[in-house]
Amino acid sequence: MEQHRETFEKRGVRIVAVSVDPPEVTLKHTRKQGFSFTFLCDPKGEVIRRYDLMHEGAGRGSADISRPAEFLIDPRGNVRWVNLTDDYRVRLHPEEALKVLDTLGVG
C-alpha cells in the first residue's frame, strides 16, 4: 500500500487505515513498516462495530479485532466500492484498488 500511496493521492484518494491497536502499538508498527498514511486507532472497536466488521475473539487472547475490509468513499460520503474478503489471509492488492478507480473514473 505504501508504495502506491502517492499514486492514490495524485488521483485524489487518501488511504486511511483502521485497527483496534492503540496509538503506541500502531506508531511502532507504522514506523517499522515505513507507513506514512493515516493509521487510525479504534481500541474500543466502536467504529469497527458501526461498520459491522468486528471479528469477535479472533485476536490474541481472544480479543475482538476487525475483519479485513476496504471501502472507497467519495467526497460526499457515499460508499462507492466495498471489498469484504471471504478469507482473512487474502488481502486487497493496491493494483486491484487502482483498477477500481479506473472503472469508477476516479482521478
Binding site: 487510525l40 471501502f71 460508499v79
Partner: protein, 152 residues
C-alpha cells in the same frame, strides 16, 4: 547385535511437535496478520519427512533399528498435529463474520473521529471535505478506508 535407536523418528517427532506448538504461540501473537505461516508449514514438512524416513528404516532393517511401534505412534501423532494445523488455519479463516450490516455501495459511510498513530484526532468527513492533490480544491478527497486485523 545391539540395535540402534532410530534417531530420525525421534527428531522428526520433536520437529513436528515444535511446529505444532509454535503454530499456536505464533498464531495467537502474529500469524493473524501474516498471510500464511510458511515457517510452520516448512517445519511440518521437515518433521514429517524425518518421521517417514525413520519409519521406512525401521521396517526395512528391523534387526538393526529398534522402535517399530514407537515409530508408528510418533508418526501418527505427527500426522494428527499436521491435520490440526491445517484445520486451525482453514477453520479460523472460514469463520469470518457475515458483516451484513457493513455499509453498502451508494449508502453514506458512517462518520467517525478516531486518534491516529500520533494521538491526533481525525474525522472521516473532514478528510473527505479537504482539498486533495488530485482534484480542484472544492471537490474534496476520496478515502480508501482499509480495516486491518491489527498486530495484537
Amino acid at each position: 547385535m545391539e540395535r540402534k535407536w532410530n534417531s530420525s523418528i525421534v527428531f522428526g517427532f520433536l520437529v513436528t511437535i515444535a511446529a505444532f506448538i509454535s503454530t499456536y504461540t505464533t498464531f495467537a501473537n502474529f500469524a493473524l496478520t501474516s498471510d500464511f505461516s510458511w515457517l510452520n508449514l516448512s517445519m511440518f514438512a521437515v518433521g514429517l519427512s524425518l518421521l517417514g524416513a525413520g519409519l521406512k528404516r525401521t521396517f526395512r532393517q528391523p534387526d538393526r533399528v529398534r522402535g517399530k511401534i514407537r515409530g508408528i505412534v510418533a508418526s501418527t501423532l505427527g500426522l494428527i498435529a499436521f491435520i490440526g494445523f491445517l484445520g486451525l488455519h482453514f477453520h479460523v479463516s472460514a469463520q469470518l463474520p457475515a458483516s451484513d450490516g457493513a455499509p453498502r455501495v451508494w449508502t453514506k459511510a458512517p462518520d467517525f473521529t478516531l486518534s491516529d498513530q500520533n494521538g491526533k484526532p481525525v474525522t472521516l468527513y473532514e478528510i473527505l471535505k479537504s482539498p486533495s492533490e488530485g482534484f480542484a480544491a472544492d471537490r474534496g478527497t476520496y478515502v480508501l478506508l482499509v480495516f486491518y486485523r491489527g498486530y495484537w
